[in-house]
């Protein structure tokens, strides 16, 4: 699994994102859950709860666990697979897990208050009821039991109904029905774009495209269905859980690219199962036919040959381990099942079954060879994907031109400039994508960073960026901002720059400050920056900071990202001054002019006009006028 590209995407240059840690926690939790389910050991149940705690600590995606496991428990109960092992696997997890989870400051009382966790509690109640029923069933005679069932069910239904009604009333009273925005956008893929632009604005939150599926999971995509079938053939508690896991994760990854991460281990497990089943069949049929001509002698040496089966199987298994190293740390749980299979095979899985599965010798040899080849190609693909797509750091860009590699190191150039040539306590405003980078590389305080907890802050910066210069200056000044950083790709054609992200700034800003309206920035529903653009667009701060003196580079101001000439070419900045622009113009840093300058201007004006307050207003309007 360490080679699956979607997983690699989370760890660049060997430094792990917390999500990479979280996936380990996730899989470990699932593994322990299945282990508990198989053994019924309270020890593993406790470990499971601790693994769950680890997961809660590391990633917000823990809600996936706390919903998936109850779903599986419910499935087991409904399909009549209830056992005391299931109870032991589930009940301690809910109790201990919830207690531990609420110790994490970020989660706190959310662990019992939000709707994401209700499913687990509901199932918790149900499993108790079912456990009680089984217990009573055990101590009563069948006849008595029937009576008791009618009695209990009638009371239980009433109680459950009452509890449910209360819960629903409570939940319904909150505006988002108790679900956090992110979860809602998962359940309803259109939710985010309607209500929370900030979540929708992140490219990782967009639905993935088909190529990205293929890129990330590649041949696994074909092995997964086979794995699902293999899981069904001996349907156990564990395999039903795996099926449930793959189905939900496929859905989630379909909603958000980022959750490809959750799909990756599931896909690995599945294809691992598929491969393991396939190898099983092939190696068995090979073994059966290699001494096949002299079946008698095989019978004579029954014991030895059955031993050799084990050996051969082991060989196959190790071979598989080698060619499919990427398969699951969670292979352990499959392995266990397989071991059982292996043990029972020599003795039990005798002629009948074996004969059914026998394939021609040549066919199975070729098939094994092909499978190994497939695995090998997948490894090659993974390495390629890791090298090409995910290893290039997003902060240093390269381009291949006819005279070799060209490096665009503009981001670090700008951050180094900030860190060495500004005061230590200066604050930098930029769009939130660059927040962490600025904090880490330039060591300066930023107004918003990639932590998106505070929507209002981001909206404020978005508003400032989409306001005219003076209003923006006031907003930034009130935030004590000294420098404004914009990313501009128009000179070299770097597409993910701030102008392309600008519509999100407008939307997010408008979500909190209603005077920013998206239609003002669109001409006939189209986002454009050429001469057809709206005056609001051409006067907003982002436009000005990006294109300040851009026309002087080539005389036409041709934007290579938007492939058009910009709308307004000649303008001056009154409240900002350019203090630094990187070599390829990708990062431009502006300084807020100190208010002193304006006071002087105001003084000049107020000489002619009487009161200073009207004076400022006048300047505001007067200064705007030339640009309209």
């Amino acid at each position: 699994m360490q080679r699956v590209p979607s997983y690699i995407s989370r760890s660049v240059a060997g430094s792990y994102d917390n999500e990479a840690v979280a996936i380990f926690a996730l899989i470990f939790t699932f593994y322990l859950y299945i282990k508990t389910l198989n053994t019924g050991s309270l020890f593993y149940a406790t470990l499971n709860a601790i693994a769950y705690f680890y997961m809660v600590c590391s990633w917000g995606g823990y809600t996936f666990i706390i919903n998936l496991i109850p779903m599986h428990v419910l499935l087991c109960i409904v399909t009549g697979r209830y056992s005391s092992r299931l109870y032991i696997a589930y009940a301690p997890l809910v109790v201990l897990g919830t207690l531990l989870a609420s110790l994490v400051p970020v989660v706190g009382f959310n662990a019992v208050m939000t709707s994401e966790h209700f499913a687990s509690f509901l199932v918790f109640i149900i499993i108790h009821v079912v456990a009680l029923v089984y217990y009573i069933k055990g101590i009563l005679s069948p006849k008595m039991f029937k009576v008791a069932v009618t009695f209990v069910v009638s009371i239980g239904v009433v109680v459950c109904g009452a509890v449910l009604a209360v819960l629903i009333a409570l939940v319904a009273s909150s505006p988002t029905k108790g679900w956090s925005g992110r979860s809602l956008s998962l359940l309803d893929p259109t939710y985010a774009s309607k209500y929370i632009p900030i979540i929708a604005s992140v490219s990782e939150h967009q639905p993935p495209t088909w190529p990205s599926y293929f890129m990330d999971i590649n041949v696994l995509a074909f092995l997964v269905p086979a794995g699902i079938i293999a899981c069904f053939s001996p349907l156990s508690d564990a395999s039903s859980f795996v099926i449930l896991y793959i189905v939900t994760s496929v859905y989630f990854s379909g909603v958000m690219v980022r959750l490809m991460l959750v799909l990756a281990p599931a896909a690995c497990i599945m294809s691992g199962i598929a491969l393991s089943a396939a190898f099983d069949v092939f190696t068995r049929s090979i073994k059966f036919q290699l001494p096949g001509a002299t079946e008698n002698s095989e019978r004579d040496a029954g014991e030895t040959s059955s031993n050799s089966v084990v050996a051969q199987n082991d060989v196959a298994k190790t071979e598989k381990n080698e060619d499919a190293v990427k398969e699951r740390p969670s292979k352990k749980n499959r392995k266990k099942e397989k071991e059982k299979e292996n043990v029972e095979k020599p003795s039990v899985k005798s002629q009948i079954k074996k004969k059914l599965l026998i394939l021609p010798l040549e066919a199975s040899i070729i098939a094994i060879f092909l499978l190994v080849l497939l695995g090998a190609f997948y490894v090659v693909h993974c390495v390629w994907a890791a090298a090409e797509a995910y290893s290039a750091p997003s902060i240093v860009l390269t381009s291949h031109s006819h005279d070799g590699l060209h490096v665009f190191d503009d981001f670090r150039e700008a951050y180094a400039w900030l860190s060495h040539n500004t005061e230590v306590d200066d604050k930098v405003a930029s769009w939130w994508d660059y927040g962490y980078q600025t904090t880490a590389m330039a060591n300066r305080t930023v107004i918003v960073d990639n932590n998106t907890w505070n929507n209002t802050h981001i909206a404020t910066v978005g508003t400032a960026m989409s306001s005219p210069e003076k209003a923006a200056w006031e907003i930034f000044n009130s935030l004590d901002v000294k420098y404004v950083l914009v990313v501009f790709g128009g000179l070299v054609g770097y597409p993910s720059d701030d102008i392309n992200k600008f519509l999100w700034m407008v939307r997010i800003g408008g979500g909190v400050f209603p005077h920013i309206k998206e239609p003002d920035y669109l001409r006939d529903g189209q986002y454009r920056i050429d001469s057809q653009a709206t005056p609001t667009m051409l006067n907003c701060l982002m436009y000005k900071l990006s294109y300040y003196r851009f026309v002087e580079t080539d005389g036409k101001a041709f934007d290579r990202v938007r492939r058009t000439e910009i709308g307004k070419k000649y303008f001056k900045l009154t409240h900002f001054e350019e203090v630094f622009t990187t070599h390829h113009w990708m990062v431009r840093i502006y300084k807020l002019k100190p208010p002193k300058n304006r006071i002087r201007g105001r003084a000049k004006k107020s000489k002619s006009k009487a009161s200073s307050t009207t004076g400022t207003k006048r300047i505001g309007t007067k200064k705007k006028n030339p640009w309209h």
Binding site: N296, R299, V343, E344, S347, A416, H420, N421, V579, T581
Partner: protein, 610 residues
């Protein structure tokens, strides 16, 4: 400009100071080189002893505010003209504070080892290098402005001795000269300004001059440079240099426009630092250039057998007042820099920075010697502050001794070699690998011991006994299971013989095989008996025993049924019955056999799970 008036004031005061000795300077020729940011003043003094006593020292005077920028001062004996410089001897120079002198002057005394007899004369070449002697004026400029600097000096040589004839030449860069003080005998000749000759001036005469000129060369100043030289006797000298660079010229103010800078780089931003050249020693390898956020991709490297040249560009062009910090590191072959002499080793490496145009405010050179070095001494060609500390690196036990040399105001002239002598035994080189090897060795030994030792606390505790018994039971069960496996294979053999029979019709062979199987099965049941007995005796096996017994019974049943079936089939073959009839006869038996077989399999599964 305030201090100039000061000087004028005290010049008058100084005139009253008594003549120090009978020396006079019969000829003083000074050249001031202002083409780089470090100001180099080369004075040729012809000293004459007019008194009767032997004079063994010559005093050189500098005003305090110049003296504090003085980076480098040497006095060499220049014997006649045309001689190669190498033959000249440099005299020791020391700071002295002669009595009765004005406190705002700093005196340096040049000791003459031979002394200067009566009437004898001597020519001294004095080279004084000043850092920060050029003041940018105006102090703040915008991007398109050119950088102007002023330089203050005295047109008359400031000396405690009377000077007969003197002249001064100021060499300026080939650029515009804004202004210069015009006093008597001032000439300008291209980019050189000449003052003098002046004759017969008394001691401590002073006449201030100011030169104001365009200087667009970058003022790269390393506020701090830490050079760490780490010696590894495995064959490498690793040099790591941490620069803290600032552009010390006129501060830039107002906007910085990349557009202007890119369009007309030599007009708009003429004084910016674009690149620096580090001249590394030949055969330098593993060169890197980075800062705290990673590799800086704008550098070029040329190497030939004589030198290695690294051209580095800071991440951004540096304008006046801008700062940056970066690190250069390179490895050097040990044999080029480490030598033996008289039982000691010594490192012989250059002191200053490989970047020539940089003036260094504080240079700290740390020489990290290998662990276990002793008897350390340093010899430097000029006075430095020495210290010692300890550095811990990987696998160090007592730490590595580090020699710390500190010097302020370092200029190009300080790029001389210095030596660190120490004693180090070659054997202690192997200390660290041996430590690693023994560490792993003991780890494995510990593992082996752990695996072989029985760590249970009490040999008689019930749980321990129970565990032992349980192990026994498991072994027993395993054996039972093996036996049943054998049984089952024998059964399979019986079936196979029947199949053979139907194919070949060889009744005798079939009978023989039955006999053989029968015998084997009897053997097996013999084997089984002691096992079952041992299981019965063990209390731990209580829960398994019924299952095992059931298994034994079922198996026996199965065995009998199989035998019966076998004999029936064989009988019918002997009676030459048709295949269909045979099938009819054995059908019932076959059913039972399959059922039994199934049960046995289930039981075996159950036992497996245990």
């Amino acid at each position: 400009m305030g201090f100039r008036f000061d000087l004028l004031m005290f010049m008058i005061v100084l005139l009253s100071v008594p003549v120090l000795s009978n020396l006079i300077l019969s000829n003083v020729d000074r050249r001031i080189d202002l083409t780089t940011q470090a100001v180099r003043i080369t004075s040729t003094l012809k000293v004459e002893n007019t008194g009767s006593d032997l004079v063994s020292e010559v005093l050189l005077a500098f005003p305090d505010d110049q003296a504090k920028h003085l980076a480098y001062l040497t006095a060499t004996n220049n014997e006649g003209k045309g001689k190669a410089k190498s033959s000249s001897v440099s005299f020791p120079v020391d700071v002295v504070r002669p009595k009765g002198m004005h406190p705002s002057l700093t005196f340096y005394s040049v000791s003459l080892p031979k002394g200067l007899g009566k009437g004898a004369s001597l020519t001294l070449d004095v080279l004084a290098v000043f850092a920060h002697a050029l003041q940018p004026f105006p102090e703040r400029i915008t991007q398109p402005d050119i950088q102007l600097v002023v330089f203050n000096e005295t047109a008359h040589y400031l000396s405690p001795y009377a000077v007969k004839v003197q002249s001064l030449t100021v060499k300026l860069p080939d650029a515009r000269i804004e202004s210069f003080s015009k006093i008597e005998n001032t000439k300008i000749h291209g980019s050189e300004v000449k003052y003098g000759p002046y004759e017969n001036l008394p001691p401590f005469s002073y006449s201030s001059i100011v030169v104001h000129f365009e200087a667009n060369q970058p003022f790269a100043i390393a506020q701090q440079l830490i050079r760490e030289i780490e010696i590894s006797h495995w064959g490498n000298v690793q040099v790591t240099e941490h620069y803290n660079l600032v552009h010390g010229g006129a501060q830039s103010k107002g906007e910085f426009s990349r557009l202007d800078y890119q369009a007309r780089p030599h007009v708009r931003g003429a004084s910016a630092i674009r690149h620096l050249v580090a001249k590394l020693p030949p055969r330098a390898h593993s060169i890197y250039y980075r800062d705290e956020i990673g590799n800086i991709s704008t550098s070029k490297l040329w190497g030939d057998p004589k030198k290695t040249e690294l051209v580095i560009e800071p991440r951004y062009p540096m304008f006046g007042g801008w700062r940056t910090a970066f690190t250069i590191g390179y490895g050097l072959p040990l044999q080029d820099f480490l030598f033996h002499s008289e039982g000691k080793r010594y490192l012989n490496i250059s002191f200053g920075s490989p970047i020539n145009e940089v003036v260094i405010d504080t240079l700290i050179v740390k020489v990290v010697l290998p662990e276990g070095s002793a008897d350390i001494s340093v010899s430097a060609p000029f006075p430095v502050k020495q210290g010692q500390e300890t550095k811990f690196s990987h696998l160090d036990v007592v730490g590595r001794p580090v020699i710390v040399l500190e010097k302020t105001n370092v200029v190009l002239e300080h790029n001389q070699h210095f030596q660190v002598y120490y004693k180090f035994s070659s054997l202690s080189m192997f200390g660290e690998p041996l430590m690693l090897i023994s560490g792993f060795f003991f780890l494995f030994v510990a593992c082996i011991i752990y695996m072989h030792a029985d760590l249970s606390i009490s040999k008689s505790s019930p749980s321990y006994l129970a565990k032992l018994q349980w192990d026994e039971v498991q072994a027993g069960v395993q054996q039972v299971r093996n036996i049943f496996d054998r049984c089952l294979t024998l059964h399979d053999k019986l079936e196979a013989s029947l199949r053979d029979l139907s194919r070949t019709g060889d009744v005798q062979a079939c009978k023989a095989s039955r006999k053989a199987v029968d015998g084997l099965l009897k053997d097996i049941s013999k084997d089984l008996k002691p096992l079952l007995l041992s299981l019965q005796s063990s209390p731990q096996a209580a829960q398994i025993l019924p299952k095992v017994e059931e298994l034994v019974a079922k198996e026996r049943d199965l065995q009998e049924k199989l035998m019966v079936k076998h004999s029936t089939v064989v009988d019918s073959y002997e009676k030459k019955l048709s295949g269909r009839e045979i099938e009819n006869r054995v059908a019932l038996q076959q059913q039972k056999i399959t059922a039994l077989r199934q049960e046995v399999d289930d039981l075996l599964d159950f036992i497996d799970e245990i």
